[in-house]
């Protein structure tokens, strides 16, 4: 059986790195005694895979992880046992049975939505910057990859930027072929609107279905 879990990572837990989060999950599984499959080999580990790594310092309401189980477990029972075993700040929100034929969550991922709350800035300045960014045909940015500095067009990876009640909602590409971290967009806004501080929360993980963005877990659980 394949099970998909949606969990939040909030408060101080947003400073937990992806590697540390993976370790925290395997320990929570061992504590919970749930029948998650162990891999074969010399150093057995639980068969667990996360949909998408979250940048350090970004909170999330919607992280997803899938696990392979050695026997069927009721999703409510699973959710309850896992919730009790997870550390504070990491909260399991829902559990769904995944379709065996559906691709891995990681492979189905296409977009991520982030909600940004600002402080110490005039929101009109942000809106103006956002308009300008969306009006560009191309924005060249650089990132380090395998020790080399690589140029890429980050504008192509911004799906949408939208102001909602003084917050900014960003939809960015997050796919196996490449993802855009929210910091790149915030840096572009800063270039235009000056320095500010912001807290970023990931609010949706999305797959594509019939040309439309849809909830990732729902997409992979449909029979």
């Amino acid at each position: 059986m394949r099970i998909g879990i949606e969990f939040s990572k909030t408060g101080m837990a947003k400073y937990i790195s992806h590697l540390d989060l993976q370790r925290a999950f395997s320990r929570a599984i061992r504590r919970s005694n749930l029948p998650v499959k162990l891999s074969q080999g010399f150093n057995p580990h639980y068969v667990v895979s996360f949909a998408s790594a979250l940048a350090l310092g970004v909170a999330s309401e919607c992280e997803c992880v899938e696990m392979a189980l050695s026997e069927d477990v009721d999703t409510k029972v699973f959710l309850f046992a896992l919730s009790n075993a997870l550390p504070p700040g990491i909260e399991a929100k829902s559990a769904v049975r995944l379709n065996d034929k559906a691709p891995k969550l990681m492979a189905a991922m296409r977009e991520a939505e982030y909600t940004v709350a600002f402080s110490d800035v005039d929101i009109d300045m942000i809106n103006a910057a956002v308009c300008d960014i969306m009006g560009q045909a191309q924005i060249t940015a650089t990132k380090k990859s395998k020790g080399r500095i690589k140029e890429f067009d980050m504008r192509a990876m911004i799906v949408s930027l939208e102001s909602r009640n003084d917050a900014l909602v960003m939809r960015l590409v997050a796919a196996p072929a490449g993802s855009l971290k929210p910091d790149f967009v915030l840096d572009e806004i800063k270039k235009r609107a000056g320095e500010f501080s912001a807290s970023v929360t990931r609010t949706k993980l999305l797959a594509h279905s019939g040309g439309k963005a849809v909830d990732l877990l729902a997409a992979c659980s449909k029979i």
């Binding site: 101080m12 937990i16 989060l21 370790r23 320990r27």
Partner: protein
């Protein structure tokens, strides 16, 4: 509480922010009431090191089981965080509730190694508590310290109000209860000296002779002439944390640790732990297997390790390893076994270890010749070493780590080169195992430490080598290992070892040096990348203190030593006799075979 918004602003910019957030699984939180006594447990090193310290985990558990008492943790911020906190006006705070340390009733430091002392000073000032005990007022926390280094607390007496001597499980709850009764500093300290195992340095006057050695140590008020360590008598049933905190960060020892035994009966003459942690006390196999099982269930860790001074000397070691491995393999949990003595490494034990897939072994022959091992009373022979290696290799081990020391008393060139020939012989034994039985190539690592004479050992009077002498010997080893293929040779920095020796046997005059070095920016002196010998040299020079007086001087047996007030229960006479024996190359047997009348029994500490 500190300003969390400010903290959140700096966290994204520092290395490993999870060092500073708390909130791990298993963290204790309590309601704080008007009369809750708040205790901050400080470990003067970075989070990953402090969270690996078994003693701190035990004390966190012990103190938090007390009613009306709440113990929280605090580690030394890495220099990037220290700077960010200072720039943003954030004081040192506890991980559990983010409370500034200055608001606690009592803060306690663990002193496990001398090279953490500058961090202690840094943490006191970051907590905005005056550095000197004399400048603290009644509204401020009492600052105490415990751990191995308190067997000579003298270099720190300017900064620490009271020291706990011996095992903290016994003394700390009593001190905390006393703090609840006494709100003023002086009343607390006056009463604290009446608790056994508590040393209040301000209650002693020390005078010096013209040659800078100590003339007299005079106690004041109710302070006892000697403070004798406290120990846990019923070790089998003493407190053990079966639900320790599970860190997010990969810490140094990221696993369940069970403590098999305390103390060691071997009596190696260089080893401070061997003398000060006596007597030997063991936990039963049933108790340990149950503690390991419960700890795995509670934490979800993937590995269990055995902790003691000499695991191979545990009476039922084969049953224990057998019992643990059958319990653990069921859940895919592995077993790690450190600290082996070569002569305690039997065939059956070797096989069981291999069953729990251990491909590495660590041995500490300590010296390269029989003569030298007799001097230090490391009661093993060349044949013991080679037989252990043969058995290990035959059982599939292909990674060996060997530990040696240089600069031991009476050492000659032949003893140094003996290290090389011992290693070469071990290498040869690996290739004597038939090829089809060997698992991969041999990984042979040799670590050579510089000997540091420690207080409360038979070598407490001995001179340490100079930096130059150590470096000549290290060069000889490097040259020697060129002739032995495939050896990874590591050596300890001589300068760090000299500094360690100065503070290990230092007196009250070193407080000023420590403070100067701290003010010059010395921090994390046990971290190679942050250690600055030049800053330390300036600090010694500016205070007119000569390191050779503390490190390279052989003391007269009649000299009053700085740590004379502190007793480990072992008499000075026994240590002096052992020093004589060493010079005669005479060995002393394991004290579980023949009692050496070390003084513990007389002090009521051993049966």
């Amino acid at each position: 509480m500190i300003d969390i918004k400010k903290l959140e602003e700096i966290l994204p910019s520092v290395l490993k922010p999870a060092r500073y957030t708390g909130g791990e699984f298993g963290e204790v939180n309590k309601d704080i009431e008007q009369n809750t006594l708040r205790y901050a447990m400080c470990f003067p090193d970075v989070y990953e090191v402090g969270m690996s310290h078994m003693g701190s985990a035990i004390l966190y558990h012990v103190v938090n089981t007390m009613d009306g008492v709440f113990a929280e943790r605090c580690y030394c911020p890495w220099p990037d965080m220290e700077q960010a906190m200072s720039e943003n006006d954030i004081p040192l705070y506890s991980l559990e509730t983010k409370t500034p340390l200055s608001e606690f009733d009592m803060i306690g430091f663990n002193l496990s190694y001398e090279m953490c002392y500058t961090n202690v000073l840094a943490m006191i000032e970051m907590a905005r508590i005056p550095l000197h005990t004399a400048e603290r007022t009644d509204s401020m926390p009492i600052v105490i310290a415990g751990g191995g280094c308190t067997y000579n607390p003298e270099p720190l007496v300017d900064f620490i109000d009271a020291f706990v001597i011996g095992e903290g499980e016994e003394v700390l709850p009593e001190l905390i209860a006393l703090r609840k009764k006494h709100k003023t500093r002086q009343a607390f300290l006056d009463a604290a000296v009446r608790i056994e195992g508590v040393y209040v340095p301000s209650m002693y006057d020390v005078t010096y002779k013209d040659d800078n050695t100590i003339d007299e140590i005079v106690p004041k008020g109710d302070a006892p002439k000697t403070v004798t360590k406290r120990i846990v008598a019923d070790f089998e049933n003493s407190a053990f944390p079966e639900s320790p905190i599970v860190p997010y960060l990969g810490v140094v020892h990221d696993r369940v640790t069970i403590e098999l035994m305390r103390g060691c009966s071997r009596g190696c003459r260089f080893c401070q732990a061997g003398f000060v942690y006596r007597p030997v006390r063991e936990r039963s196999v049933e108790k340990l297997v149950s503690q390991a099982k419960n700890s795995i269930e509670n934490t979800g860790h993937e590995e269990v390790s055995l902790c003691s001074l000499s695991t191979g000397d545990y009476t039922d070691v084969a049953q224990l390893v057998g019992g643990l491995s059958s319990e653990l393999t069921k859940s895919g949990v592995s077993l790690a076994v450190p600290s082996l003595r070569v002569d305690s490494f039997s065939g059956e034990y070797a096989e069981q270890l291999s069953a729990v897939r251990n491909k590495n072994l660590t041995f500490a022959p300590e010296a390269g010749t029989q003569r030298m091992r007799d001097i230090i009373n490391k009661n093993i022979t060349d044949e013991d070493i080679y037989e252990a290696a043969r058995q290990a290799f035959a059982s599939g081990v292909n990674g060996v780590k060997l530990y040696f020391m240089i600069g031991l008393p009476e050492e000659t060139d032949e003893d140094i080169l003996g290290i090389v020939s011992t290693v070469a012989q071990i290498r040869k034994l690996f290739y004597e195992v038939p090829k089809e039985k060997r698992k991969g190539g041999l990984r042979l690592t040799v670590s050579v430490a510089c000997f540091v004479p420690k207080p409360h050992t038979p070598f407490q009077w001995a001179a340490q080598d100079s930096v130059e002498t150590f470096e000549v010997k290290q060069q000889a080893l490097r040259d020697g290992f060129r002739t032995v293929k495939g050896v990874r040779f590591n050596w300890h920095d001589a300068k760090t070892s000299i500094l360690e020796a100065v503070f290990a046997r230092g007196d009250r005059q070193l407080g000023a040096v420590l403070e100067t070095a701290y003010k010059k920016g010395c921090r994390f002196d046990s971290w190679k990348e942050l250690f600055s010998f030049s800053k330390w040299s300036e600090a010694f020079e500016e205070n007119g203190v000569d390191t050779a007086f503390y490190a390279q001087r052989e003391r007269e047996l009649s000299e009053t030593l700085p740590w004379e007030t502190i007793s480990s229960g072992v008499t000075k006479q026994l240590l002096a006799d052992e020093y004589e024996q060493a010079k005669d190359m005479a060995t002393t047997p394991d004290c579980r075979e023949i009692c050496t009348s070390c003084g513990l029994r007389k002090a009521g500490l051993c049966v």
